[in-house]
Assembly symmetry: C2
């Protein structure tokens, strides 16, 4: 796992949603609480499986709708990586990079402070964003 997370109370999650301008429906509170407080880079499928265990009834469409809502609201960030077709959702909305453990498939956040990067491109290229995936193994 990436770093320890603290479970969030439903009221805390609800506040987060309202603050972000999102209607705090039961489904959204559940999913958002799961991702913010417990999950580590879950895919939609993992969220769906979690919901099947912890929520009375939730369709896959609602999972997708919800994560899209949360991403649009700035609560989550969505990432796609080359090693998998499935998008992952990250509660870390700051700029950061990732390390993929090729043995386990686990993703680890990499803080920008850990990376020293300077890019000098030819005239005319204006860089507005950088995505970095480090691949390797973690012992």
């Amino acid at each position: 796992m990436n770093r320890k997370k603290k479970p969030l109370s439903h009221p805390d999650v609800e506040k987060r949603l309202v603050d972000a301008g999102v209607q705090p429906t039961a489904q959204r509170i559940a999913i958002c609480g799961y991702i913010l407080g417990e999950a580590d880079h879950p895919t939609a499928e993992e969220i769906k499986k979690w919901a099947d265990r912890h929520f009375p009834k939730m369709s896959r469409a609602t999972v997708y709708n919800t994560v899209k809502t949360l991403v649009d609201a700035g609560i989550l960030q969505e990432f796609k990586f080359p090693h998998s077709d499935a998008a992952v959702y990250d509660s870390n909305t700051d700029i950061h990079y990732h390390f993929l453990d090729e043995k386990t498939g686990e993703l680890h956040d990499v803080q920008p402070e850990s990376v020293d990067l300077s890019v000098k491109l030819k005239e005319g290229f204006k860089v507005k964003g950088i995505q970095i995936l480090l691949r390797g193994t973690k012992k």
Copy 2:
């Protein structure tokens, strides 16, 4: 476009295939010649469209089979980027990075010399590969 390419003669392409241990079938020569000599980061679909115009008859399956063969043979590199679900094929098989022009969707190769990078991760992380996508605009 990324950089100028020179069209390759069919015999040259055939030699490249044979050297790489790949049977030089008509389909493979055609596709390989297109990617090495003309195309710029084409997707399977773009290759298929090109084939529909320049080759008597080729199925999508053959396009996929062929690029897989060429990748396995070390003639091409396959990349997947977050902005599109479709894989792209790159005749540059050296280590390099990419710049995505967000206006046009065009991909540009970025030579490693253009990027100065040092990564210091916590104990236990061993980095074996790095993928970088720069996003921005090119005038």
